[in-house]
Amino acid sequence: MIAVIDYKAGNLTSVVKALKFLDVHDMVVTQSPEEVLRAEKIVLPGVGHFQATQLLKDLGLTEAVRESIAKGTPFLGICVGLQWLYEGSTEAPETEGLGHFASQCERFPAVYQGADLKSPHVGWNSLEQIRPDSRLLRGVANGAFVYFTHSWRAPVSADTAAVTNYGGAFTSAVERGNVMGVQFHPEKSAEVGLRVLRNFVEL
């Protein structure tokens, strides 16, 4: 069973729709820590403000996810769901992330290499330097395009599975063992995105 966590951040419809399209029928959309603990896989969608992730802690979901991850349950965070895997975000400094990956998410700079940089970063950009051992990005080619919409991003580290260049390189996919995240929206990234979701579903 796949648990899709509902923490009232943006719209879950498109993620659920994409999973259904991939023939995932054993799925619950939930706010229950018990259901998260029972799940074979966990998806944390998200779009919007980092502040919204405060609800995860308040509902006891942060601890449930921590426990599930520790016992090896595959976890996929999308957009703000990826950012939540880090220690936090300057978007909502008082709200703690899971801290599974070190460092903070920060806003795109207003100026990069002497030119104004628009923010949010909206549109189709490419995945680069895809780590060959990434299970999430298996079969996805370097240079493949995916859809982004965000103003904060995670820094590049050893756990980065792919980078994207906008105002410098940032982490567009992160993966260590069973814990994975994507800054882009796989549910809105046509064939490439469906491939990523299928990879996760088939883990």
Binding site: A9, V47, G48, A110, V122, G123, W124, N125, Y147, A190
Partner: protein, 256 residues
């Protein structure tokens, strides 16, 4: 590299896609859900569905249309026309839209921008601006509402700045002067708005050839461009348009 987006636009009336011929006669061009899929399959980066009549009794039809179109659409999907309240927006999102486009309602009550953004995120709110300038400079272009029928006395660049400050995620800028003329986008106006705001600007109105897109992405500084009738005039689909743009050095999503 962030690519320039080609957005396919479907005008819907009474649950069917329509297109104007010589600006007056409206002919039936097909089922919105089917055409949305066809555009996505043909390489469009996004699909926009605009309910051009947005009549009250049509609301149910529209939501059902959105549901059907969204069911198997895996590119960003925007719905506009008749969204007047946060509740209207919520119904459209629940039906499967990723973004809503608001126009007259945002002018009437600018707080609406922030209200929708608070629940669904700024990225989900597109403020559409219909602009007319005639012989005036781009800085003096005026905002029109009610499907281009009513002047507001507001300047386009200022309204775009306010919309951004109130939390709009993108601006959809339509030049009423250029619309339907197929003589090219209003690059001067698009650049004026694009330079005034930090958020992406989608150019609309006037597309007649691939070169017009090259111009609006270059001189016009647009982040995206909307195409509707161009696909009926010599360019068959987004993929072909993008191939031509790539040859002219515009960064686009290819293969797609």
């Amino acid at each position: 590299m962030l690519t320039k987006r080609i957005i396919a636009c479907l005008d819907v009336r009474g649950g069917r896609v329509v297109k104007g011929v010589q600006f007056v006669d409206i002919i039936d061009a097909g089922d919105p859900a089917e055409l949305a899929h066809r555009h996505a399959a043909a390489g469009a980066d996004e699909v926009v569905l605009l309910d051009i009549t947005a009549t009250h009794e049509g609301r149910g039809t529209l939501l059902e249309t959105v549901r059907r179109a969204a069911a198997k659409l895996f590119v960003p999907f925007t719905v506009g026309g008749g969204v007047r309240t946060a509740e209207d927006a919520e119904a459209v999102f629940t039906a499967g839209a990723d973004k809503v486009s608001i126009n007259s309602a945002a002018i009437a009550r600018p707080e609406l921008i922030g209200e929708i953004g608070a629940s669904f995120g700024a990225q989900a709110v597109i403020v559409a601006i219909d602009a007319r300038r005639g012989e005036r400079g781009a800085e003096d272009a005026e905002v029109y509402i009610s499907g281009g029928r009513k002047p507001t006395g507001r300047r386009v660049v200022e309204w775009a700045r306010e919309a951004e400050a109130r939390g709009a995620g993108e601006i959809l800028l339509t030049s009423m002067d250029a619309d339907g003329m197929r003589t090219g986008f209003d690059c001067e106006l698009t650049a004026a708005v694009s330079e005034a705001v930090q958020i992406p600007v989608i150019a609309s109105g006037g597309a007649g050839s691939a070169q017009h897109f090259v111009d609006v992405f270059g001189r016009g500084k647009a982040d995206a461009a909307l195409a509707a009738s161009i696909f009926h005039f010599g360019v068959t689909d987004s993929r072909e348009l993008k191939a031509q743009l790539a040859q002219s050095g515009v960064s686009v999503r290819l293969p797609c």
